[in-house]
């Protein structure tokens, strides 16, 4: 198929960007969206024009590195990562708009690449269970009910891609936050730091400039791992409980 691509190009964080239009031809259904961009980049290189910078690494939907706004949607028209979106989701002659994640807390580094360092800093603020190496008790000494373990696992599947933030009109990272709070909060190991964790993480979230949640639900609709909206209720509940406990 032949496509018209409108792509955001921005040389660096401090220079203004603009949309540029490119044509690509001979795109097959079997290509992933990123392979289609590889084809474009190879063409640009041949023409002496600098290739378009975009992030990707595992290209199998798990590392969370890729992320583009495609026709205004985070990761594009399907509920998946950009690397697992295939060109069979598009038709010959389509015009496709490609932009970087849109959120103030994810500043553009170059073209389609943004800085998601804020997510690491949120984890640093308390998104862990303190367990020094070598001091762990025998694993089966703390049983975890199967349903709790399953729920914990489901929330732990968050890949930190940032689609939730990019999709949210408020640029909130509440889904990301809620997933981590629930992952660790469902486990007995996560209880001792539960109050402190939510207070610190929410504090860092706000400090990074992410917006508040107004229950619009775009985050969960865009989440490639289908993290449900109720983790945000859990987040709020944990926060209230922590405040009641005097945090």
């Amino acid at each position: 198929m032949n496509l018209t691509l409108k792509i955001w190009r921005q040389p660096d964080a401090t220079t203004d960007g603009a949309m540029h239009t490119y044509q690509v031809s001979d795109i097959s259904d079997d290509m992933s969206f990123l392979e289609m961009l590889d084809v474009l980049n190879e063409q640009l290189n041949e023409k002496g024009e600098e290739p378009i910078a975009f992030d990707s690494d595992c290209r199998e939907g798990i590392c969370g590195m890729c992320g583009l706004m495609i026709n205004g949607q985070a990761h594009g028209p399907e509920v998946t990562t950009t690397c697992q979106l295939h060109m069979r989701s598009f038709s010959d002659g389509d015009v496709i708009t490609i932009e970087p994640w849109r959120a103030e807390s994810f500043p553009v580094i170059k073209d389609l690449v943004v800085d998601r360092g804020a997510f690491d800093r949120i984890i640093q603020s308390g998104g862990y269970i303190s367990a020094n190496t070598g001091s762990a008790p025998e694993a089966n000494s703390v049983p975890v009910p199967r349903d709790k373990a399953m729920r914990s696992f489901n929330m732990a599947t968050c890949i930190s891609c940032g689609a939730c933030v990019a999709a949210c009109p408020n640029g909130s990272a509440s889904l990301f936050l809620g997933a981590k709070i629930t992952h660790l909060g469902e486990l007995p190991q996560g209880q001792p730091e539960r109050d402190a964790r939510v207070v610190e993480m929410v504090g860092q979230h706000d400090h990074e400039g992410f917006g508040g949640c107004t229950n619009i639900g775009e985050c969960t609709a865009a989440c490639p791992k289908e993290i449900p909206l109720d983790v945000i209720s859990q987040l709020n509940k944990d926060l209230r409980t922590a405040m009641k406990h005097g945090h």
Partner: protein, 671 residues
């Protein structure tokens, strides 16, 4: 192979008869692990931990360690050394340590917990791993791996890794990769992700505590050696292009594997060999570089545009039946229209005892044989169809579609998404792909390379998997090295501190930095016609064709010639646009491809030298009468550790004999 000598079992020192690689290398001095432990195998690690010197907590604050890579090995090491109080600098090329490629591992992690009371033990895990590696790993290292495996599970559970559980709340296990005990712990098909997040969170906790300094979007481009010791790295900030000098008392490379030398592999796009290769060029030995694991169940290549391959969990072979049409003319037909009598269930035919569950190397090689015979299925890429059917029709008839959905749903979805075909209706297509490398930088029992102060952990080193890696053992090794081995061995090295203070103006530091800068400006100034990617693809084709699943003397010699031509062309015809002072992904690729080309040549020389079939490495000249792999223990029971011979010289081969005292070497047979 009977090598028993009363109570002590020793293999004879290797006697090399064949020398296919004559003219391509120089023979160096034999290599001996200077810290190899002795005594009863079960006491070796305990004794060593005690014997290794201690560093008092107040002194640790003055000692610094650089760790390159943040996967299971690097992330775990950074977390643990940070907790211990050392000053750690951690580097990764991704935008977050949590994206290291360990995250993509699907299946599980082994541990000798014997929760199922099915006869598992440290010794049995050790035995299975050495045997599975075709007796080309070090027994002391593997025993230690088995020994610490149980602690790994404890550690991860304490961190909140949500492993699968039984209804009573205890941990569940499954059997994996053809072993007869259930020792594999798993978190659905995303075990690697969950383990990595555990290590990442432990590391971020140390970042907050100030013991670990994190450098994301940074790439190590050179190692700094002072008086023969590793004392730092030159790194490039990939966002600003700034070339930085980082000095430390010791350096750990935990930079993963180099399977991307084949261009198409299951590795992440960014996985590369640069950290290891830059160290190799400065004197670190590269051991068994030709040992590549080929995984049998990947989604086949669909066209020339393909950028990477996706693995499908091997568990699919438990229920899927593998076949190709008996007649080449049926290959284009809809598989559902090919009657039972015209199908060749070749694994069930050739290996009736194991059938579709033969080990990875055998399943892979036979798939290749079928396609080479012209009976492959799926789209033609070039002149060949490279795919075989993995058919669930019988299993669906037996268990119902719902039964299959419950077991493999996410894999079937993934397949459907990538191929656009519905695997519940038509058989899946699979083909082998490069997955993991068992070769890597040579290390001693302390995980120290032959360069003092340079330690290597996880997939980046060579020591534990031999010629073939068993399922669910890679995650175990990464975490064992990072959490339990390195912290105990590096302290013995650091106990020599204080080390001489080094200044950034030291001539060796300046020289390393200048080398990096001039290399980068060379890439940008060649101004040829071809992208780094195009060279990478061409290298990959050569490697897969001649140094892949089946190798021959003739093919390997041809490959070496082709790679040398490619290298010459790379340095004259490369085109890298943009500048060095911004994010420039083409420039990053150029450096990595340059290193892959040199590594590719060494891999071919190593493969040429090893005239035996072992692990996944089938040498056409070394097979039994029925075409099965034939090992030659008398000649090749050694580690091939290669020393860089200079830009215009030949690599130097150092052989380290593999001595087995706790295990008897046997030929494998699956018939």
């Amino acid at each position: 192979m009977a090598l028993l000598d009363g109570t002590t079992q020793l293999n004879k020192p290797p006697v090399q008869v064949s020398d296919d690689a004559r003219g391509y290398y120089t023979l160096g001095e034999p290599l001996v692990d200077p810290v190899t432990p002795t005594g009863p195998i079960k006491d070796r690690w305990t004794t060593r931990k005690f014997d290794n010197r201690l560093v008092n907590p107040a002194n640790r604050r003055k000692m610094s360690v650089i760790i390159v890579g943040t996967g299971l090995a690097g992330g775990a090491a950074a977390a643990t050394l940070g907790e211990a109080g050392y000053l750690v600098k951690s580097f990764c090329f991704q935008d977050s340590p949590r994206r290291a490629h360990s995250i993509a591992a699907q299946g599980g992690i082994n541990a000798a917990k014997n929760y199922k009371e099915d006869g598992d033990s440290t010794h049995r895990l050790f035995y299975d791993t050495v045997k599975g590696g075709d007796y080309r790993s070090r027994e002391s290292n593997v025993y230690r791996l088995a020994e610490v495996s149980a602690n790994i599970i404890d550690q991860c559970v304490a961190q909140g890794v949500p492993f699968a559980r039984e209804y009573g709340g205890l941990l569940d296990n499954r059997s994996f990769g053809g072993v007869q005990v259930s020792r594999t712990f798993y978190a659905r098909g995303q075990t690697g992700q969950q383990l990595l997040i555990g290590a990442y969170q432990a590391m971020e906790r140390q970042v907050a505590a100030g013991t670990v300094q994190q450098f994301t979007r940074h790439e190590m481009l050179e190692i700094i050696l002072i008086d023969g010791k590793a004392r730092g790295i030159i790194a490039r900030d990939l966002v600003t292009g700034e070339i930085q000098t980082h000095l430390a008392d010791a350096v750990v490379l935990a930079s993963g594997g180099y399977g991307n030398v084949f261009y198409l592999s299951t590795n992440a796009m960014g996985s590369n060999v640069t950290a290891g290769w830059r160290a190799h060029r400065k004197g670190a030995y590269m051991a068994n570089p030709c040992y590549t694991q080929i995984h049998p169940t990947c989604i086949p290549v669909s066209g020339e545009h393909q950028s990477k391959l996706t693995l499908m969990s091997e568990s699919l072979r438990n229920d899927g039946r593998i076949w190709v049409p008996k007649k080449a003319e049926d290959c284009e037909k809809d598989p559902r229209d090919i009657p039972e009598g015209d199908r060749d269930y070749y694994l069930e035919r050739i290996y009736p005892a194991f059938g579709n569950l033969v080990p990875r190397d055998i399943a892979s090689r036979q798939a290749k044989n079928m396609c080479d015979e012209g009976r492959g299925v799926g789209p033609k890429v070039g002149d060949f169809r490279r795919g075989v059917y993995l058919d669930f029709a019988d299993a669906i008839a037996r268990l119902g579609e719902d039964g299959i959905r419950e077991k493999y749903d996410n894999l079937f979805d993934m397949y459907a998404r990538i191929t656009g075909e519905n695997p519940y209706e038509t058989p899946m297509r699979i083909y082998p792909a490069v997955h993991y490398v068992m070769g890597g930088l040579w290390v001693d029992y302390h995980l120290q390379s032959n360069i003092p102060g340079l330690f290597v952990a996880g997939e980046a080193n060579f020591s534990d998997h031999g010629a073939n890696r068993l399922g669910a053992s890679a995650l175990m090794q990464g975490l064992a090295d990072g959490y339990f081995v390195l912290p105990n061995t590096i302290r013995d090295y650091l106990a020599d501190a204080p080390f001489e203070r080094i200044d950034e103006s030291h001539p060796d530091v300046v020289a390393a930095r200048t080398d990096v800068e001039s290399r980068i400006s060379t890439f940008l100034s060649i101004n040829g016609t071809r992208s780094a990617d195009s060279f990478h693809k061409e290298l990959g084709t050569i490697m897969w064709e001649y140094c892949g699943m089946e190798r021959s003397e003739e093919g390997l010699r041809k490959a070496i010639d082709l790679i040398r031509e490619l290298k010459a062309s790379f340095w004259t015809d490369l085109k890298v646009l943009g500048t060095a002072d911004t994010l420039n992904q083409s420039l990053e690729k150029a450096g990595r491809v340059a290193d892959f080309i040199e590594l590719g040549e060494l891999m071919c020389i190593d493969a040429l030298n090893r005239r035996e079939s072992c692990g996944g490495h089938f040498r056409a000249e070394s097979q039994t009468e029925d075409g099965e792999a034939l090992r030659h223990d008398e000649e090749f029971a050694y580690v091939a550790a290669w020393e860089w011979g200079g830009d215009n010289g030949q690599p130097v081969l150092h052989k380290e004999d593999l001595i087995y005292t706790a295990i008897e070497m046997k030929q494998r047979s699956y018939k």
